[in-house]
Symmetry: D2
Subunit: 283 residues, 4 copies
């Protein structure tokens, strides 16, 4: 049984040997270890995958002992994840269908180890895709006046289904602090530019106007600062003077799909840690 | 004998057939033709390479006829370049040596069909490299107080040597409008970021702070708006949380070298046209 | 009304001006022209998009005159395609679903200007996806013994539906010369390696064994020489020692999807020409 | 004082905690740890950078204790490298100058922490570059008849200068087993193709003929099987039908330089381990 442990704490001498010794003492075999030290910030990060014999392993005991013997001593923030537990992922969409198609196709193909309890959209346009893939679809319109109430509806659904994280698959609305604060570093957005270039609306138009030779897409955790959250993944593709805005948009669709899917996978596999508005990604 | 012609004018019906018919009529064989229409701006661009029999071809007559029969009629801006004429390229540097080494190595290896009459620097540090490659080196210090006079010295050298274009190979000074206006779209800069992200000073530090997953470099023609001139070439490379600022700088050096060298080659080969603060690049 | 013309003939002086003059004389406005000369092979290639006033344009007359006045004179192979005519694309699949999902999602999203009369598979596994996207699905099993007959069934379907081209979306069977000869340069395959490296079966296993640092995918027209047809598109992605074969396969899926989709688009947009077992691609 | 330790042994439970505990016990602070388990081969690899207080650290004692307490117990192959010890790198070249220029420029710029006792070439052409950078140059011609003797001369020089590793910077000769066996996994070659595609002579010509859309370069350790040694680094760049062989060669030069320089840096930084004709690279 593979158990993943994520650790974040101030850097101190001997952490690695203490933690690995602890796991060894508990009968675990470490099959993967990656660590990172941010020397400037004196911060330590570690991701471990350990194999425990499930007939002897008690998660409760392990958690209690880890907390008592290690976490307190080193002032650790830590989390433990059992393989096989599928997080619940809610999808928020508007009218663009390419990211939705891509994520649902991957889900159907078995690429994403999640459950998808529902899709929320502020428009009804993509309902047929939800039906095609047999996922419940909730149309919750959002206007300036209704936004507050709409978000209450969203939160109600999120809580009823015990959703673990949210993916904004080209959801064209700004999510307010009310929702963000309930899902800190648990809302993944895809922005259709190479951030920090072209934050905000209509990035392909802005990129075209500037005459860049490369366009990009960025997936990041959502914070209250629009398009300024911790970046999870970015990718780019070349463009030339011969590409019109429509070509930017078409080329961008492929980027957005790939970049968002990669970010979702990294999140699901517990390979992301957030610190100082940046991510540590253990590939 | 290969002759390159660049044409820019309002888009009109029949331009291509008229121009190609004209060249055919003058005995030329078109070996390369690329064109671009910006439909939004109703602008037409064309680059032709034609092979003329040099025993029959008179450049003077051709120019006069082209002007009379085509250029006036279509309101063309055009230029004609004979293969074998090497433009004169001045290099401006400060203290970083990687772009200078790269350009001089390419020059020595025969990759760049230019003459290099001199190198100008505001510091004396890179003189040994100039000597190593046997290129005259002029140390012209620049302070706030001396800048105006320093630029006069630069202009004097540029004019004495009939320099065609200038390459700022990590020249850490802002070039003033006095120089720029004498070399419009003829000063090539390398900026060590993926513009428009991280314009201005210390882009690697800014990229590190923002936690981007990709860094870039951008070569552009210098205009009076700092880092906002027409982009010629861009490229990027991946970074991770494990890279420190020093790693960004080291990885960036390779990008800067490659991107600047590509831009210089495109310029030398007359493959760049500038329009509306953007470039048309005929690869 | 936009008309695309593709021309291939021996290189001769004056072709461009003659062709563009002809189109101009027929009232066409050339909005795009790209040409290529293979000087070694003395071969000329051109792709033109021209705008004709549909109230005056007769395709029949144009074709006849082009043939008489140009094609014979220059020994041209040429073709003419009206915008708005959607080619018919048949899909062949086996058990892998990612390319099928990707193409059908793009088709539904309006990215591919084709009709898809049916999907053929040698297994029944992917029928639910065909149903999900409402495309007829024909299960035609292929064994050594039944292959000849199975291909007759395939050909019957292809002809009944007047299919223009075939996409092998991870169809795990070798297509015989009987089918290939009926669809020369009209069968597009995706091979899951960077050809010519790792042709044949199990390329990801071979790549893993060799310890390459980059894996790729290649889309090509199918010829009777397995994996040796004209290459349309290739792309690559990085791998490390930490990736197992399963990771190669997962990363490869994204490559295969993208590379195949790009090749299909280029084919549909008449941007590919084949010559000497290579392609000329007018991007 | 930073000490780098590389470990390779059969995978066993508890290795990481034992090794990290040992280092901790010796007063070391682990600032970097990367490990890899090849589960199929049951092989374990680890790279550690530890900070020791140099006033208390005895390398001799450490080595002896490590050998006694760890290496024997776990059947480790291991090595220890003190920061600041510069390995001696010999350069072998023929007539192409781009890789030589690139490496010497980086060396002069302080990018490569090595000493370069000499350059060997089978031609005299590049002597001026050696002189330009003030490195001893030995012209050792190689013919079929003289090869054995030439290699003896090479080996004599390599031994006299206690060379640690050799870089074949486009050295156009096949190195025989006599030399290879003296420098196992210590001779770095750059091959101008994306191996295993186009091994052997004239890869750009072969790539052109095959009509690939991407060309590459590969840096690998030299073994007695030509172009089949463990791959250290690869990179690629796009080409189109419009590129002639001369363009492939020109674009390839930039690839070769970058890929070779990256491989040399990885080797110098002790980030490469070789196993089963593959490399583990701890980036």
């Amino acid at each position: 049984m593979i158990t993943t442990i994520l650790i974040h704490c101030p850097d101190q001498k001997g952490i690695i040997s203490t933690v690995t010794g602890f796991i060894h003492g508990k009968g675990g075999n470490i099959v993967y270890l990656d660590q990172h030290v941010d020397q400037q910030a004196n911060a330590f990060f570690m991701r471990l995958e350990s194999d425990f014999d499930s007939s002897f392993f008690s998660e409760t005991t392990f958690r209690a002992d880890f907390e008592k013997e290690l976490a307190k001593r080193y002032a650790m923030k830590w989390s433990l994840h059992q393989a096989g537990v599928r997080p619940k992922m809610a999808l928020f969409v508007s009218k663009y269908n390419h990211c939705l198609y891509d994520l649902l196709s991957r889900f159907n193909a078995g690429e994403l180890a999640v459950d998808i309890p529902f899709i929320i959209s502020n428009h009804d346009d993509l309902r047929p895709i939800a039906e095609q893939f047999d996922i419940p679809f909730h149309h919750i319109p959002v206007t300036k006046a209704s936004k507050n109430e709409a978000e209450d509806q969203q939160l109600k659904l999120l809580e009823e289904h015990a959703v673990d994280f949210i993916v904004l698959a080209r959801y064209m609305q700004i999510v307010s602090g009310k929702v963000i604060s309930r899902y800190p570093n648990k809302i993944i957005n895809i922005h259709h530019s190479f951030l920090p270039a072209f934050a905000g609306a209509k990035p392909y138009h802005a990129a075209f106007k500037r005459g860049v030779k490369i366009i990009g897409a960025t997936s990041h955790y959502v914070t209250e600062d629009l398009d300024e959250g911790p970046i999870i993944e970015q990718d780019v593709t070349s463009v030339t003077h011969a590409h019109r805005i429509a070509d930017f948009i078409a080329k961008g669709r492929d980027l957005e799909k790939i970049v968002l899917a990669r970010a979702v996978k990294l999140h699901v596999q517990r390979k992301t840690m957030v610190y100082a508005n940046k991510t540590v990604i253990f590939y």
